[in-house]
């Protein structure tokens, strides 16, 4: 598993890891879904394209997660899988998901936005990438 959530006193941290930066960003997005509900319960019948750009990789993680928050809120969807491509602080991605179904998904809370708190994007000594921040719920 290349993602996890981590504890914060008032909110929830989301963390992705991977062989590439793009994989770590995809993992952080899955962790954000896990802050809301069990990602395994979310289907993948619909796709949404996302593109964003930022001056640095950490700001790009915040932008990426906030773009997903916006799509989830306005389309009333949840996402389960992500295919991310990154080049020079530009991100393009496809997110697979389905319309929110309260009874089946049992969402605990909505995510209001991604924060700069505990925001880290870095390459670990073992060569793997890590991307994390706290999301406000």
């Amino acid at each position: 598993m290349n993602w996890e959530t981590f504890a914060h006193e008032a909110d929830i941290g989301v963390r992705g890891t991977g062989r590439t930066l793009a994989e770590a960003f995809a993992g952080a997005a899955t962790a954000m879904t896990a802050a809301i509900c069990d990602p395994a319960k979310v289907g993948s019948g619909e796709t949404v394209k996302i593109a964003c750009a930022a001056p640095d990789e950490e700001m790009l993680l915040v932008d990426w997660l906030n773009a997903l928050v916006f799509e989830m809120a306005t389309r009333r969807m949840l996402f389960s899988h992500f295919d991310v491509t990154m080049e020079n602080h530009h991100l393009t991605a496809t997110a697979w998901g389905e319309p929110l179904d309260i009874a089946r998904h049992q969402p605990a809370t909505e995510v209001k936005g991604a924060t700069f708190c505990e925001l880290v994007v870095r390459r670990e000594p073992d060569g793997r990438w890590l991307a994390q921040c706290v999301v406000d719920v």
């Binding site: 959530t5 909110d11 906030n66 969402p107 809370t109 909505e110 700069f116 925001l119």
Partner: protein, 480 residues
């Protein structure tokens, strides 16, 4: 928090002395136990806020303070535009003007007990709650602009409630200086279907009973007697406020170096009050305050409809409405000089003391009602803003008090420890009915995941921030 780093000013007031980049001292209110239990991050965040340009008097933290981002939750700081002061999107947060409103019902516990389950069902059916819920109102561009300018006043004009409601709100239901043009299209799009929705997480609507009077005279002024049934709702500016927070945090972080602001933490993102960015943020943030006021007004209307279905002819007049995450321009006396300041309250309540002209006339001799939410299984409190006798300013922390119990454990830990169904059953056995669409959501909000609200309000009273008036016990809780 290590108490050795603090200088005790009084039994319930602790000073964090100036060091490093701090421009003013930090002041933390609370009992020895509450302050000792605070995370070290709270001290770090109080100190970071104390280093922002133009800060006045002190960087304050309330007895319910906990680790936030940038500012602590329960943090208060005031800035002077003429002294290079800033406005901080991080200092207001994402859930702009999240707040509590309490309504009288004119009913007694005995009137409600036999109809409690039906009342819970009607409230849950009427009030959109939880993630993805939508309201019955769709706003076009002109309607959105009018709402963002007019707040609760707009909502009353649209038929949601009464003119008399507006007299029992901060700023009488409408904050001046809102600029819908400073609000992004994305923020407006997020709000389009969310007017009159409760939201999720710690947002709720509760039917409560006045279980104890702690100051009978003040309670009488607020219209409260033992055994009275009231309704309290906790929600904010929904998607619009969340998006404004995200938009301006990003813009302020990027603009900080050019403005000469060296931020120790990017979440302190701020801009000079005398800058185009600072002014645009103020305009957008005030629009979000109006959005929250309009939202609580519409939910009030829906609650009235639900009550009327069960108790025909019942009226639900307002006790008061308070906002938590705001930056407001206010006049305060500092070292004997009256100054216009921009007071940030992040997870804290305005709590003006007796005699303040911004209060409803009938409350002026008592002070502002301060509505403190607890958890769904414990208690909530009504306090009154206190005059700080003997202080040169006549007030504490720019007339502010705590806002709630604050979490004692992460959502992560709460969901691991409890199951929603068991929490609902336990509370039902104690006569508290929960209505929620999410079992995990209930588990994350389990009563024991919160600090002891009574210890927090006791400390707020002992520190002179506010006086206890009444304790409210939950009967029905509709969870967002």
């Amino acid at each position: 928090m290590d108490l050795k780093s603090l200088r005790q000013r009084g039994e319930f007031e602790w000073e964090l002395p100036m060091a490093d980049a701090m421009r003013v001292p930090g002041v933390i209110f609370g009992s020895r136990e509450l302050v000792a239990a605070m995370d070290e991050k709270v001290r770090e965040q109080v100190a970071n806020v104390a280093g922002l340009p133009g800060i006045v008097e002190a960087s304050y933290a309330m007895p319910d303070a906990h680790w936030g981002y940038g500012f602590p939750i329960g943090g208060i700081a005031a800035f002077d535009a003429d002294a290079g002061g800033v406005v901080s999107a991080g200092g207001v947060g994402f859930d702009i003007s999240c707040g509590v409103r309490t309504l009288h019902t004119g009913l007694k516990l005995a009137d409600v007990e036999a109809h409690k389950a039906r009342l819970a069902d009607r409230l849950f059916a009427r009030i959109p709650a939880g993630i993805g819920s939508t309201g019955g109102i769709r706003l076009d561009a002109a309607g959105m602009a009018a709402m963002l300018k007019g707040g609760a006043r707009w909502a009353v004009g649209e038929g949601y409630g009464l003119d008399a409601d507006l007299l029992r709100m901060e700023e009488f239901g409408c904050v001046a200086g809102a600029d819908p043009g400073a609000v992004s299209e994305q923020a407006k799009k997020r709000q389009r279907d969310e007017m009159g929705t409760l939201g999720s997480g710690n947002h709720y609507l509760e039917v409560q009973v006045v279980s104890e009077l702690l100051d009978e005279a003040a309670a009488r002024t607020f219209g409260l007697a033992a055994g009275d049934v009231v309704v309290s709702l906790h929600c904010g500016s929904r998607g619009l406020g969340h998006q404004i927070g995200a938009d301006f945090l990003r813009e302020m972080v990027l603009a900080a170096p050019a403005a000469g602001l060296a931020l120790p933490d990017r979440e302190l993102a701020c801009a000079p009050l005398k800058s185009s960015l600072g002014q645009r943020y103020l305009g957008a943030m005030r629009a979000a305050i109006n959005c929250a006021l309009a939202n609580r007004q519409i939910i009030t209307h829906l609650a009235r409809q639900a009550f009327a279905e069960v108790f025909p002819g019942v009226e639900l007049p307002l006790l008061y409405d308070v906002s938590h995450n705001t930056c407001k321009e206010e006049a305060h006396t500092v070292d004997g000089v009256r100054r216009r300041l921009f007071v940030h309250r992040k997870g804290a309540t305005r709590a003006f003391g007796p005699g303040h002209l911004e209060l409803p006339r009938e409350y002026q001799h008592v002070g502002q009602p301060v509505l403190i939410g607890g958890s769904m299984g414990t208690a909530s409190y009504v306090l009154a803003g206190a005059a700080a006798a003997g202080r040169k300013t006549g007030e504490h922390a720019f007339g502010s008090a705590c806002h709630g119990a604050g979490r004692a454990m992460s959502r992560h830990e709460a969901a691991r420890r409890w199951h929603g169904r068991a929490v609902v059953d336990d509370l039902a056995a104690r006569g508290i009915l929960i209505r929620s669409s999410s079992s995990r959501g209930v588990a994350e909000e389990a009563p024991l995941a919160y600090k002891d609200v009574t210890a927090v309000v006791d400390a707020a009273e002992q520190a002179g921030l506010a006086c206890k008036v009444a304790r409210l016990a939950p009967l029905v809780c509709v969870k967002g």
